[in-house]
C-alpha cells in the first residue's frame, strides 16, 4: 500500500501562536489507500497540523503538497474542493438546520438552481444507512445527542468525492457499535484508494484500524512507524517522551470495593422522567458511591444526568436529597444542594471560549457566591494554580483564553471548574472524552479519590471498561429507559453489561 507516491506531503511545518510554538518543523506524509494514525498527548499539535493542512491556519514555515503539487488552501471549503475532506475535532455544524441540510449544506443537489429537497433527503438517508444510523433526517440536528451529531459530521465528510479524508477524534463520543460501523466504512474507503488521516486517544482503535502511525510530541515530530513495528507500550513512550508506567498504572487499579450503602441516601430519584427523553426511573446514590451509567449512544444517559441536575425539567416523579423532598428544577437549585454537572458537550455547554482559563475555572464557584461577593484574586490564583498543576493543564498560563487550548485541555478546565466547588454529588458526562492516556488515568484516579473522600459520583462513559473499573454500581440504559442496575462485583463484566444492553430490540437514535 505504500508502494506508490504519497498523496499528501507536509514538509517542515512550523506554526506559532502568541506564546506557544504549536508545530515545529513537522514532516508528515500520507499514502493513498492507508489509514494513518496521528498520535500525541493533549496539546501535542495534532489538530493544529490538520488545520494547517485544511487552510484554517496559515503556516509560518513549511510546505504542503497534494499529489506532488504545492498547495496553500485559504480555508476548508477550498480544501474540500481539492479533495481533502475533514471532520474537525469539535462538531461544527448548524444545530438549527435539519440533519439532511447539514450533510449537504453548501453543495445541495440542484436542478435549474432550485434545491431538490426530496433528492437531498433520500441521499442523506442513504449516507446515514451506510453508517448504520436510522434517524429522522428532517429533525433539527440540535435535537440529537452529541454522538449522533458526530456521526452526521462524518456522513457529510464521506459523501464528498475525496482523495484525503481527515478525521480528528471522530470516535471520542461513539460507543463500540458505532465505532465498528465507522471502521467498516473507513476500511471500504481505504480499499477504494482513499488516504485517511485518523486522530484518536484510544490506543486499541489505532491497532485495529491504522496501517501507519505518526507521533507528535510538544509540536515536534517524534517519528513514523508501520503499526506492526510499534508495540503499544513503545507507542505510549514515544507519546509521553519517557518510560512511564502509565499502562501498568491503569491496570493495577483494583476494581472498587462496594461502598457502604446504609443510611439516608444522598440522592433518591423516584419515577423521575421526562416525556420523549427518559422513561420514569428510580435511582439512588449514596455518599461516596460511584454509580456508572452504561448504555448505547442515544440510550438516554445524558438525559438522566440533565434531569438530576435540573438542566432539563422533569415532568414526572420526585427527588429527595438527604431524605427530604426537593425539586431540582434549575441548575441553580441543584448546585445549591451540592450537585455538579460536567456536560459532554464542552463547546456548546461547557467552556466560555473568550474567557481565560482562570475565569472559566472559577465560574461555577463565583456563580454560587453571587456577583456581589467576588472571590478574592489571591484565592482564585491559588485554586487555579493547584488544579492547573494537578490536571496538567497546558499551556499552564491561566490568563490565556480557554478557546486557545487544545480540546483535551479544555476538558480538564471544565473538570477543574466543578472540582473547586467541592460538590457532594458530581455528575460526569463523558469526562475523559478527548483526553490523552496519561490524563485519563489521572482523572480516573481522581474519581476514585473523590469517592474515598465521601463524594458521590455519577459517571457516564461510552467506554465500558472505564465504567467497570470505577463504579460500585452500574445502571444500564436502553432506549431511553433504565433497564437494570447491577452491583459491580466479580460476576459483572463487559459481556454481562452488553447482554443487558442488547436484551431488547436493536437500538436506534431517537430525538431527545
Amino acid at each position: 500500500m505504500t508502494g506508490s507516491h504519497p498523496v499528501l506531503t507536509m514538509t517542515g511545518i512550523s506554526k506559532s501562536f502568541p506564546g506557544v510554538r504549536a508545530l515545529d518543523g513537522v514532516d508528515f506524509r500520507l499514502f493513498p489507500g492507508e489509514v494513518h494514525a496521528l498520535m500525541g498527548e493533549n496539546g501535542a499539535g495534532k489538530s493544529t497540523l490538520i488545520k494547517v493542512l485544511t487552510g484554517v491556519y496559515g503556516v509560518d514555515r513549511g510546505t504542503v503538497a497534494l499529489a506532488g503539487e504545492q498547495v496553500s488552501f485559504t480555508g476548508p471549503m477550498q480544501a474540500t474542493a481539492a479533495g481533502v475532506s475533514t471532520v474537525f475535532q469539535e462538531v461544527n455544524l448548524c444545530t438549527n438546520l435539519s440533519v439532511a441540510e447539514n450533510i449537504f449544506i453548501g453543495r445541495e443537489p440542484r436542478r435549474l438552481g432550485a434545491v431538490r429537497w426530496g433528492e437531498m433527503r433520500r441521499r442523506a438517508r442513504a449516507l446515514l444507512t451506510r453508517l448504520d444510523l436510522d434517524i429522522d433526517v428532517n429533525a433539527p440536528l440540535g435535537s440529537f445527542s452529541l454522538a449522533i451529531q458526530q456521526m452526521v459530521a462524518i456522513a457529510r465528510a464521506i459523501d464528498i468525492e475525496a482523495r484525503v479524508l481527515v478525521l480528528d477524534e471522530p470516535t471520542s463520543s461513539l460507543d463500540t457499535g458505532e465505532v465498528a460501523q465507522l471502521f467498516r466504512v473507513m476500511r471500504s474507503l481505504r480499499d477504494d484508494g482513499i488516504a485517511i488521516l485518523f486522530v484518536t486517544h484510544f490506543l486499541d482503535q489505532v491497532y485495529r484500524i491504522a496501517d501507519r502511525i505518526t507521533v507528535l510530541r510538544n509540536g515536534q515530530l517524534v517519528g513514523e512507524w508501520t503499526t506492526g513495528d510499534l508495540p503499544q507500550l513503545s507507542l505510549v513512550e514515544k507519546m509521553i517522551g519517557k518510560e512511564l508506567d502509565v499502562l501498568e498504572r491503569l491496570d493495577e487499579q483494583p476494581r472498587r470495593d462496594v461502598a457502604a450503602t446504609e443510611g439516608t441516601p444522598l440522592l433518591e430519584a423516584r419515577a423521575l422522567g421526562r416525556r420523549s427523553a427518559v422513561a420514569p426511573f428510580d435511582l439512588t446514590v449514596h455518599a461516596g458511591e460511584v454509580v456508572g451509567l452504561a448504555g448505547l449512544l442515544g440510550s438516554g444517559r445524558t438525559e438522566v444526568a440533565r434531569l438530576l441536575f435540573g438542566a432539563d425539567r422533569a415532568d414526572h416523579g420526585s427527588v429527595r436529597v438527604d431524605g427530604s423532598p426537593t425539586s431540582l428544577r434549575t441548575p441553580v437549585a441543584a448546585i445549591a444542594r451540592g450537585i455538579g454537572f460536567c456536560s459532554e458537550n464542552r463547546r456548546a455547554e461547557g467552556i466560555v471560549a473568550d474567557l481565560s482559563v482562570r475565569e472559566n475555572i472559577v465560574l461555577a464557584m463565583q456563580a454560587a457566591r453571587g456577583w456581589l461577593r467576588p472571590i478574592p484574586r489571591r484565592r482564585q490564583d491559588e485554586l487555579v494554580d493547584r488544579w492547573v498543576r494537578a490536571l496538567h493543564i497546558r499551556p499552564a498560563d491561566p490568563e490565556i483564553p480557554v478557546g486557545n487550548l487544545s480540546g483535551g485541555n479544555q476538558q480538564k478546565v471544565l473538570l477543574a471548574r466543578w472540582l473547586i466547588t467541592e460538590p457532594r454529588l458530581l455528575i460526569l458526562d463523558e469526562p475523559t472524552r478527548g483526553i490523552d492516556i496519561g490524563a485519563k488515568t489521572e482523572i480516573q484516579r481522581l474519581v476514585a479519590q473523590l469517592s474515598d473522600g465521601g463524594t458521590a459520583v455519577l459517571f457516564i462513559s461510552a467506554e465500558l471498561e472505564e465504567v467497570l473499573r470505577l463504579s460500585h454500581r452500574i445502571a444500564v440504559m436502553r432506549d431511553h429507559e433504565l433497564v437494570t442496575q447491577l452491583t459491580n462485583d466479580q460476576s459483572v463484566d463487559a459481556d454481562r453489561i452488553m447482554q443487558a444492553i442488547a436484551a431488547g430490540a436493536a437500538h436506534e437514535g431517537v430525538p431527545s
Binding site: S16, F17, P18, K51, V56, Y57, G58, V59, D60, R61, P76, F88, Q89, E90, N92, F309, A311, P331, V332, I335, F341, S343, R347, A348, E349, G350, I351, V352, A353, D354, L355, E359, L363, A364, Q366, A367, A368, R369, G370, W371, L372, R373, P374, I375, G403, N404, G407, R417
Partner: protein, 357 residues
C-alpha cells in the same frame, strides 16, 4: 524577531490601535483646517477651546454608551436609550417648570430623582421583556424606542418645555475646577461602572452570559437577573444623559432630545472593541469610541460640510473604522501586501475567530 519589532506588532494589532489612529487623524485634520483648534484659553477662570467643547459635548454620549456596553456584552441591545433620554429630561423639566422658585436646589434635586425613577421603571420594563418573557432584545427595546417618544411628547404636552433654572442648567454647561461639570459627571459614571463591574464579579458574569449563555446557565449563573440588571443600568445612564441634553438647552423637546443617540452609542461600543455578539467588553474602548464619534460630529460642523452631506461623511468615516478593525478585511490587506514572504502570521491570529476550534 527583535523586541522592537514584536513590540510594534503588539501595538498595531492592539484592539484599539486603529480607533486611536483615526481619532488622532481627525484632530490633525481639524488643526490643519483651523489652526486654532488645539488652543485652549482661560476666560472667567474657565477653560475654553474646541477640545474642551468636544469633551463636554461627548459626555452624554459617553454615558449612554457605557450603559449600552453592558447590554451588548450580554449579547443584547438597547434601542430605547434615546427615548429614555427624552423622557427623563422631560420629567425633570416638567417638575422644575411647576416650581414657584425654579432655582431652588431642593426642587432641582427632586426633579432629578423623579426623572431617574421614571427611567429606572422603564429600564425594568425592558429588563422584564428580555429576561423574563424572553423577547428578542432588539424587538423588546424597539417598543420603548417608538412608544417612548410618544410618552415624552405626552409629558411635555407636545410643546417645547422651556425652563429657567440655573442649578439645572449647570448640569449641562456649568464648570468645576475650570472644566465643564459634564466631564466630571461622565467620568464619575465611568468610574462607578468600572468599579461595579470589575471590583465585583458582575463583569465576569456579564461576559460569561454574553459569551456562552447555555454554559453559563449550567455553571449556575442566574442569567435572567443579570440581564435584567444591565437594562436597568442602561436606563439609569440614559436618564443622566437626558438631564445633560436638556440642561444644555434649558428646555425639553420630546422629539429632538436624544434623537438617534442609540445608534451613536452602539457605534461607540463597537468601535471600542466590544463585539455585538456579546462576551468581552471594554469600558475604556467605549469611551474612546464615544470621543471619536463626537470629534467626528464636531468636525463635520466645523468644516462647514453641508447638512445634506454631513451624515454621509460621518458614515464614510465610521465604515472605514469598522473595516480596518474587521479581522477578515485586515487579513486580506496584510496578506496581499506580503505575498512573497512566507510569514503571514499577522493574518492568522486575526482569523482565529472563524476557526472550528
Amino acid at each position: 524577531m527583535s523586541t522592537a519589532q514584536s513590540r510594534y506588532r503588539a501595538l498595531t494589532t492592539h484592539r484599539l490601535f486603529w480607533p486611536v489612529v483615526v481619532l488622532v487623524a481627525l484632530v490633525v485634520a481639524n488643526t490643519v483646517y483651523r489652526p486654532g483648534f488645539l488652543s485652549v484659553q482661560v476666560r472667567d477662570g474657565h477653560l475654553y477651546g474646541s477640545l474642551i467643547d468636544i469633551l463636554r459635548l461627548s459626555a452624554p454620549l459617553i454615558l449612554v454608551a457605557l450603559g449600552m456596553t453592558l447590554v451588548i456584552a450580554t449579547g443584547g441591545i438597547d434601542l430605547s436609550v434615546g427615548s429614555l433620554c427624552a423622557i427623563s429630561g422631560a420629567v425633570a423639566c416638567l417638575y422644575i417648570s411647576r416650581q414657584p422658585d425654579q432655582n431652588s436646589m431642593g426642587g432641582v434635586l427632586t426633579a432629578l430623582a423623579l426623572g431617574l425613577a421614571v427611567a429606572l421603571v422603564l429600564g425594568a420594563w425592558n429588563g422584564v421583556l428580555v429576561a423574563v418573557i424572553g423577547i428578542q432584545p432588539i424587538i423588546a427595546t424597539l417598543i420603548l424606542m417608538v412608544a417612548g417618544r410618544g410618552l415624552a411628547q405626552l409629558i411635555t404636552e407636545g410643546q417645547i418645555l422651556t425652563i429657567n433654572s440655573s442649578p439645572y442648567k449647570a448640569i449641562g454647561v456649568g464648570h468645576l475646577l475650570t472644566l465643564p461639570l459634564a466631564i466630571f459627571i461622565a467620568l464619575a459614571a465611568a468610574l462607578l461602572i468600572a468599579a461595579v463591574t470589575r471590583r465585583t464579579a458582575l463583569g465576569l458574569i456579564v461576559e460569561s452570559v454574553g459569551g456562552n449563555a447555555r454554559a453559563s446557565r449550567l455553571a449556575g449563573i442566574r442569567s435572567a437577573r443579570i440581564t435584567f440588571l444591565v437594562y436597568v443600568i442602561s436606563a439609569a445612564c440614559a436618564a443622566v444623559a437626558g438631564f445633560m441634553m436638556t440642561a444644555n438647552v434649558s428646555s425639553a423637546d420630546g422629539n429632538a432630545a436624544g434623537l438617534w443617540v442609540e445608534l451613536d452609542a452602539i457605534l461607540a461600543v463597537v468601535i471600542g472593541g466590544t463585539s455585538l455578539a456579546g462576551g468581552r467588553f471594554s469600558l475604556g474602548g467605549t469611551i474612546l469610541g464615544a470621543l471619536l464619534i463626537q470629534t467626528l460630529t464636531t468636525t463635520v460642523y466645523a468644516m462647514n460640510i453641508s447638512p445634506q452631506t454631513s451624515l454621509l461623511f460621518k458614515a464614510v468615516v465610521v465604515i472605514a473604522v469598522c473595516l480596518i478593525q474587521a479581522p477578515g478585511f485586515r487579513a486580506r490587506f496584510t496578506r496581499r501586501r506580503r505575498v512573497p514572504a512566507p510569514a503571514a502570521a499577522g493574518a492568522d491570529e486575526t482569523r482565529k475567530e472563524q476557526v472550528p476550534a
